[in-house]
């Protein structure tokens, strides 16, 4: 029997607000344990939550960018369960009235474009974390408790691990474009739970699903889903039954294992949080947020095609992140050579960023400097080859491209006299090759170009060298 996987994803997006969702504490990562806390996020007796408006605004931005409708009335609910990293004994979340409903994202896998439904997006607070180890004891760090999250729940519309990853990447691209999430997956800023089931091809009823918790990289999501699909199919083929349960992915072994079964599932006893008043979102507010939305990846892609006449491939690569796109645009506008800017950004710049493990935000060569460099090429001052040297130099030691060219004497020589002298000298020293060329073996032309460039230390203008060589060799 052939099986068809069915996948739905619940993504937790950590919001990039300065302060927590229900108190004024900083959301900064990496502080001393329990430093970023107050009576509210420590859940001391008598403390009360007050909603951070920015979180609502970010949620509206996410909803508008994923084609959701925004609920005018919003209720926060308490999700009750005991765990030491959950100081109140309940998590403030949203239950039956989430802020965003019924959206979708279009993904492309191979040649196929497919619409993936988004059931809902809701706002909630993160828990703290347990620190095990030292001295056999366990500690609780509540710095993260109260960090704002959006939970984005997809419909079970995904049919393969590739679709799941494409959907995740698309969502990731949107939230990072919007600037509402720092996108740091290692620190858990973007993590997902995958609901996976399989059913016979052609069936219309879904199989029993397993939920794989807290996977925090695209690669692991792919691995976890693929492992889970195979596990479930093998189980069924061996006459077994998939049970509804929560599973954990072990990235070291590439397997999922059972965490808790359905019978151990919590009864969260959701009810409206009486400490918070309903959040009313007016259509005015929604329109103000809409007006301030940044350009989204798809719009930027289309604009790059028309405004800069870029090939589709270039537009796609350059719009993969907002930072890369911004870098390209600044460079292209400063040097007025879009194609050359695209080549440099996708080529030399991306390669050097990758080789040195540098993020684009930390790039030592500003878009303006790269533009200056491109202008030096376009103006005939240096060749492309020399430009790479200059780029390397300003990456390592800083400085302005023009100044580096000047100081290191890298300017291109277009003076025909100097180039002619070099050609004469080389022809005189290589009579044999001159004969060969003249007898029709024009392959040796490259040899002469190489010799001239070597003599001129790479600074000769290649076009001038070509012209003069052709004339002289022709006799």
């Amino acid at each position: 029997m052939n099986f068809q996987p069915v996948i739905g994803l619940e993504v937790h997006v950590q919001l990039k607000t300065d302060s927590k969702i229900f108190c004024g504490c900083s959301t900064r990562f990496g502080a001393e344990p329990n430093l970023n806390t107050c009576p509210v996020c420590l859940a001391l007796p008598g403390a009360l939550p007050v909603l951070n408006k920015k979180v609502v605004e970010f949620a509206i931005m996410a909803g508008l960018s994923t084609n959701c409708s925004i609920s005018p009335a919003n209720i926060f609910a308490r999700k009750n369960y005991f765990y030491p990293d959950l100081p109140k004994g309940y998590q403030i979340s949203q239950f039956d009235l989430p802020i965003c409903l019924a959206g979708h994202l279009d993904i492309t896998v191979g040649e196929q474009t497919k619409r993936i439904g988004i059931t809902r997006i809701h706002m909630e607070e993160d828990a703290g974390k347990l620190v095990h180890g030292q001295g056999g004891g366990s500690g609780v760090d509540l710095n993260r408790a109260g960090t704002p999250l959006l939970e984005v729940v997809s419909e079970p519309d995904l049919r393969s691990s590739d679709e799941a990853v494409a959907y995740l990447k698309k969502l990731y691209q949107i939230v990072t474009y919007l600037g509402i999430c720092d996108g740091n997956m290692e620190e858990g800023s973007f993590r997902c739970d995958a609901n996976v089931s399989v059913m016979p091809v052609g069936s219309s009823s879904f199989g029993t699903r397993a939920e794989i918790k807290n996977v925090n990289s695209f690669k692991f999501v792919k691995q976890a889903i693929e492992y889970e699909i195979v596990r479930q199919i093998e189980l069924i083929e061996d006459g077994g039954k998939v049970v509804q349960e929560t599973r954990l992915f072990d990235p070291n072994k590439g397997v999922t294992r059972s965490m808790r079964g359905k019978e151990e599932a919590h009864d969260y006893r959701y009810f409206p949080d009486p400490d918070l008043v309903p959040v009313v979102i007016s259509s005015d507010w929604i329109e103000r947020v809409r007006a301030d939305l940044p350009e989204l990846p798809e719009d930027k892609y289309s604009r790059f095609l028309t405004e800069y006449s870029l090939p589709e491939y270039d537009a796609e690569v350059l719009t993969s992140s907002r930072q890369l796109a911004d870098y390209f645009e600044q460079c292209a506008q400063a040097c007025t050579n879009a194609k050359s800017s695209a080549n440099w950004v996708m080529g030399e710049l991306t390669r050097t960023l990758n080789d040195t493990g540098t993020s684009i935000e930390q790039c030592p060569v500003s878009p303006c400097k790269l533009a200056d460099l491109i202008k030096l090429i376009d103006g005939g001052t240096i060749s492309g080859t020399i430009a790479k040297k200059v780029f390397e130099e300003i990456w390592k030691n800083g400085g302005e491209p023009a100044a580096v060219v000047e100081q290191q004497g890298l300017a291109q020589v277009s003076d025909t006299g100097a180039i002619e002298a070099a050609i004469d000298q080389i022809m005189a020293a290589n009579q044999g090759q001159v004969e060969e060329y003249r007898s029709g073996k024009d392959k040796v032309f490259g040899f002469f170009v190489g010799q001239v460039m070597k003599t001129m230390k790479g600074k000769a203008n290649p076009a001038v060298v070509n012209d003069l060589l052709k004339q002289k060799l022709a006799g």
């Binding site: 008598g46 009750n80 100081p87």
Partner: protein
């Protein structure tokens, strides 16, 4: 008249004229506590040393010409209010050694005016009870008759006023916890409109019902104290941003022409004869003062107690989840792992009534029962709110008994929780509706126990009920009666 018998407004005049110092008043009250509290047990913690320092500071402030309504006035707080640096127990073993790291907003506002804290008052554990018997620190006794309960849960707040151990106190009222003990102890107790006073720093029992209010010797003091603590607090999302009036401004206007409703569901067969007589006399007095009476109906009154015990316990089951021995409060020893630590700490830290209500509330919210219990209760709550809206379309205020009987005996109802719950039948609907109510002394039982009457007003209609209560008080002598202790 002894210093410890005086009201806020009289002491304020004396302090302002430098006829007395805050230090003298504070010393007199501390001595009074020393003399009487072994018999009453109104205080869980007495903060004598700090009180003397704060009184001296208040005297300096007064000497510098700054004498606000509460400057130099010694007060005490129900032990549910967080008081920075002072033990705050909520009358629970769970918080027996919990030193509050910050001040509740209501107390911070009083402190800002220079009020002097004498100590923290006994109550039912986590405000769950109607008798002040459910305290890890032993029951408080009624100063009028020590065989009897003072009422609850703010029993200490009322008993301390009746025993003249503090000039004024704060309590909290979730289902009658200010008004019922005030009635049983012969003092004035005001439950403001939900949202009128910040709940920040007040240990939560049932968040949608809890409200902070004053317990005082007379109506004028209640008005003054409410004026000091009321108003929007950015730290409490449910506190309402509407202006705080001068609550004493209408005192001289009288009540001629005021329309007073008598809800027929509150004057039932089997109402205690002394309570009935007190109500009849009070109604006659209000008539003499020019009020007009109209019979009204609050048809869903019968469902209020059941509704309350679903909503309040549901919220409590969640509010009390934070007491698990991990970060503060009682922690069990010799436990096997995290879950055991949390379960044992709660088993040891909470008393019987608290556990009963946590279980009730957990049940009401559980999957499969939510619609039948919690959701149904919320719908009935809406009907009860509408009852009051309809009534206030016809009348300016309502007059009712506070409790069906005067204070019962200690131990009389502790074995029958349901009987205990029913004693709050006239106060509970007020919290469900979120409106304001006041209890004022109106009579005395044959056996010498005080009986109060309840005036209920529209949301944010505190001025009206205070004005009516003031007129009644001025026309009667009940508030001058003193417990013999």
């Amino acid at each position: 008249m002894e210093l410890f018998e005086q009201s806020i407004h009289d002491l304020h005049q004396m302090l302002k004229k430098r006829q007395v110092s805050s230090l003298e008043i504070t010393k007199a009250l501390l001595a009074r506590i020393e003399d009487t509290d072994a018999a009453i047990n109104a205080f869980i913690t007495v903060t004598g040393e700090q009180a003397l320092l704060d009184a001296a500071a208040a005297d300096q402030r007064i000497a510098a010409g700054d004498c606000a309504a509460l400057t130099g006035i010694p007060v005490a707080l129900k032990d549910i209010f967080l008081t920075k640096g002072v033990r705050t127990t909520c009358a629970s073993r769970m918080l027996e050694n919990f030193i509050a790291p910050y001040d509740a907003t209501a107390w911070a506002r009083m402190k800002g005016q220079g009020a002097v804290l004498l100590g923290k008052l006994n109550q039912d554990e986590f405000a769950m009870g109607s008798s002040c018997e459910n305290s890890a620190f032993g029951p408080t006794r009624n100063p009028w008759n020590r065989e009897h309960i003072p009422g609850g849960s703010s029993g200490g707040s009322a008993a301390a006023i009746a025993a003249q151990q503090a000039v004024a106190t704060l309590g909290t009222d979730t289902g009658g916890s200010i008004r019922q003990p005030a009635s049983h102890c012969g003092c004035v107790g005001l439950k403001p409109t939900y949202g009128r006073v910040s709940r920040y720093g007040v240990i939560a029992y049932a968040s949608s019902l809890d409200q902070v209010g004053p317990v005082t010797r007379d109506v004028a003091d209640a008005a003054l104290l409410l004026g000091a603590i009321a108003g929007h607090d950015p730290k409490d999302s449910t506190s309402v941003d509407c202006p705080v009036p001068d609550y004493t401004a209408g005192f001289q206007n009288g009540i001629k022409g005021l329309k007073v409703g008598l809800p027929k569901e509150y004057f039932i067969e089997g109402l205690d004869a002394d309570v009935q007589k007190t109500m009849d006399q009070a109604i006659a007095r209000f008539r003499q003062l020019g009020a007009e009476f109209v019979e009204v109906s609050l048809p869903h009154t019968n469902y209020a107690v059941a509704t309350y015990y679903l909503i309040a316990t549901a919220e409590a089951s969640s509010n009390l989840a934070r007491y698990e021995g991990v970060r503060f409060g009682h922690r069990a020893e010799d436990t096997a792992g995290l879950m055991d630590l949390m379960m044992q700490s709660r088993a040891e830290g909470f008393g019987t009534e608290v556990k009963r209500r946590i279980m009730l509330g957990t049940y009401a919210l559980s999957s499969g029962y939510y619609d039948a219990y919690y959701l149904k209760a919320q719908k009935v709550r809406t009907l009860i709110q509408r009852d009051f809206i309809d009534a206030f379309a016809k009348v300016d205020l309502l007059l009712t008994p506070v409790a069906p009987t005067p204070a019962f005996k200690i131990g009389e109802k502790s074995s029958d929780p349901l009987q205990m719950y029913l004693s709050d039948i006239f106060t509970i609907p007020v919290n469900l509706a979120g409106i304001c109510g006041i209890s004022v002394p109106a009579g005395m039982s044959g056996s010498g126990l005080p009986i109060g009457l309840q005036l209920l007003g529209r949301p944010f209609g505190e001025e009206t009920i205070l004005q009516a209560a003031y007129c009644f008080e001025q026309a009667t002598e009940w508030h001058r009666a003193k417990a013999a202790i």
